[in-house]
């Protein structure tokens, strides 16, 4: 009888220990793909409507300000439009993805016409910023898992927050990076830092997401900084207005809407 009473607590403790060990094992074995999946899930939204202040800072510290709006619907439609200043006002970029193929159209008011952008241009600078067309598309709504194959390479702290560290390679030719490193906060799967390497495997850009706020149940960084370490310039995006899951009619995501000022 005494034996039995001794065995039960041992079994309970063992089970608890096994559960903890097993769970820890599962967590430790979380793959890069699973982490990216979690990131995409956490940032997923039916639609987004952002207004952002943009500051371009060159290597001499000279600053130029812009104001843009980004609207996205699902993970296959997006539009970026410049609101200020006058020389770029109404310049607009439409992105639509169908059957895995991404198409972009650019409206330049000075030309007065909507033109399709060649696939290679998507890796070029977006309107003089340190973001490429692909990067700016990512700001509107993450599609990391679709655009990158990733693996977990460790854990590191970023500004005191423990993060998963991922190494990811792009799956699309139009992404002109050889590799992306990503630090994802373990607590909430929010990406805090991303490093992009060029085709020569040299560090090209660093993106930092700061001051996550909970807006409409979505964690949203107040500030996104893209630094081009090769040039010494950076572009800072500050969120001014953020709306999630708003009603955005499909007609907004058309070349017809691009030309409306």
């Amino acid at each position: 009888m005494k034996k039995t009473t001794t065995i039960i607590p041992i079994l309970v403790v063992s089970t608890l220990l096994l559960t903890v060990v097993f769970s820890a094992g599962v967590m430790a074995k979380m793959t890069g793909e699973e982490v990216l999946d979690k990131v995409d899930q956490k940032m997923d939204s039916d639609s987004r409507d952002f207004i952002l202040d943009m500051t371009i800072v060159n290597q001499n510290g000279q600053e130029r300000d812009r104001k843009i709006t980004i609207k996205t619907k699902g993970d296959n439609k997006g539009i970026v439009k410049f609101l200020e200043p006058g020389d770029v006002k109404d310049t607009a970029l439409l992105t639509r993805e169908k059957n895995g193929e991404e198409n972009m159209w650019l409206y330049l008011p000075s030309i007065g016409n909507v033109n399709k952008i060649a696939s290679h241009s998507k890796s070029g600078n977006f309107m003089g910023t340190d973001f490429s067309y692909n990067d700016i598309d990512m700001v509107g709504g993450s599609n990391y898992k679709k655009d990158y194959d990733s693996k977990l390479i460790g854990e590191e702290k970023v500004n005191g927050d423990l993060c998963y560290k991922l190494s990811a390679v792009p799956t699309k030719d139009s992404i002109n990076y050889s590799e992306m490193e990503m630090w994802v906060r373990k607590d909430d799967f929010m990406p805090l830092k991303l490093k992009f390497y060029d085709k020569d495997d040299k560090l090209h850009k660093i993106m930092i997401n700061k001051n996550y706020r909970n807006i409409d149940s979505h964690l949203t960084p107040e500030t996104i900084t893209m630094e081009n370490v090769q040039k010494g310039s950076k572009t800072i995006l500050k969120l001014k207005e953020v709306k999630y899951n708003v009603e955005l009619p499909d007609r907004i995501f058309t070349t017809r809407y691009l030309t409306r000022n």
């Binding site: 000279q62 033109n115 952008i117 290679h120």
Partner: protein, 466 residues
Amino acid sequence: MIKKITVVFMVLFLVIALPTSVKGYQLDSKFSQKINYLNNEEIYEGLTELNMEFTKDFGMNKKLYLNPVFKLKLSENARFEETGLNEKPFEDNDYDFLREGYMDIYLKNADIRVGKQNVDWGSAYELNPTDVINPIDFTAEEPTSAELGVPAVKTDYYFNFNTSLSGVLVTKHRASLIPKTVENMINDTAENMIYKEIYSQIYEQNKNKSSAQTTTNSIMKNNFTINEAEERKILDSSDSPEFALQLTRRNFNGYDLSLNYFKGYEDLPLIVSDYEDVKAELGQIIKETTSTNISSETTSIDFGYKKTQALGFSGRGSLGSMGVWTEINYNINEDEEKKLDAIIGGDYTFGNNLYTVAQLFYRNYNDYEINDILKNAGKETLLKDQTYLLLHGDIPFRSIHKFNTDLIVDLGGNGYMLNPEVELSLGTDYSLDLGAVIMDQDDTKDFSTLNMLGNEKTYVEFTWNF
């Protein structure tokens, strides 16, 4: 001049003093001051422009857009006195004050634009052969971007995301503005042709040079006139209206494609008189003059804007890692004179953000009567077949500034034009452009495409957006 300067700067002051939004109007303004040094003429000229854009949203899917422009030429010196090509055919304050002014109405599947407007068609870089609706101000500093607004109604109907149909009705034909000196050159050419015709006929009869010359001069003075072209008021006449259609299909196998049709009038003046009739009338005049010393008959060479039809095609997409495009426009006028414009081009962005464009432009004039006239006058280069190669490159530096270069080469061996430029961003709203136009032309007096793009100059331009 002082008055004009005062007016422009008073308007500028008022615009600055106004808030950007007045009684529902959104106001965006751009002030620019350009100083050109014309290398050949060795003179400076100043060009001041205040460009304002008013937009008012009336709700109910209606929007008003007004684009008034104040322009001032600070130099009173004759511009381009050597070639005269960019000399205004009117006073220096005579320009389109209202560049565009229209109302937009957005319906469920259609957008309607009514008023004075530019209609921009085509997919090529800078030069668009299918962009046939608006005439061009060839007297402007940069004619490639100087379309003249036309009074029109434009309707864009969207069948779905990929397919749309545009219809444009132009209520009054508007001709291109060409420099007065070019008009004079064309008139002189026609006059010389008639002079030669009369002289040769009289000389054949009397074999006396002096007498033939005197009689020819008398006929030229008393019995012959040149009538310049007049713009046609389409709806006031019994002619059918000027209209255009464009069918667009986006993303067709990755390409955006458009098919265009235009029916209207040529934008450049051509001789509309039947030359055989003129010759017959001249024969009668010569006969009467040589027998009675006087003739009451008259004849004329009339310039006009011929009725024309054009069919165009444009396409744009990717080929491998390059962007590619093509544009073709085939024009046939009432006298079955044909003109073909074709462009093929591509662009590529390098890893260091160097953006490059290469574009080939071909123009063929077929059976244009004026070709013979020009041949007689030794002006074969005018309206001859033309092939040009355009190369463009731009690259940002220090993130906010840009180097910009355009090179246009006449593959017929008639020279090139090089336009290097530095765009400096002085602030979020200020910029300064420094550049030069370098020309290599055999005959700078010709009405060739290269000459129409500008003259040799060095320039600096300050722009302020507010």
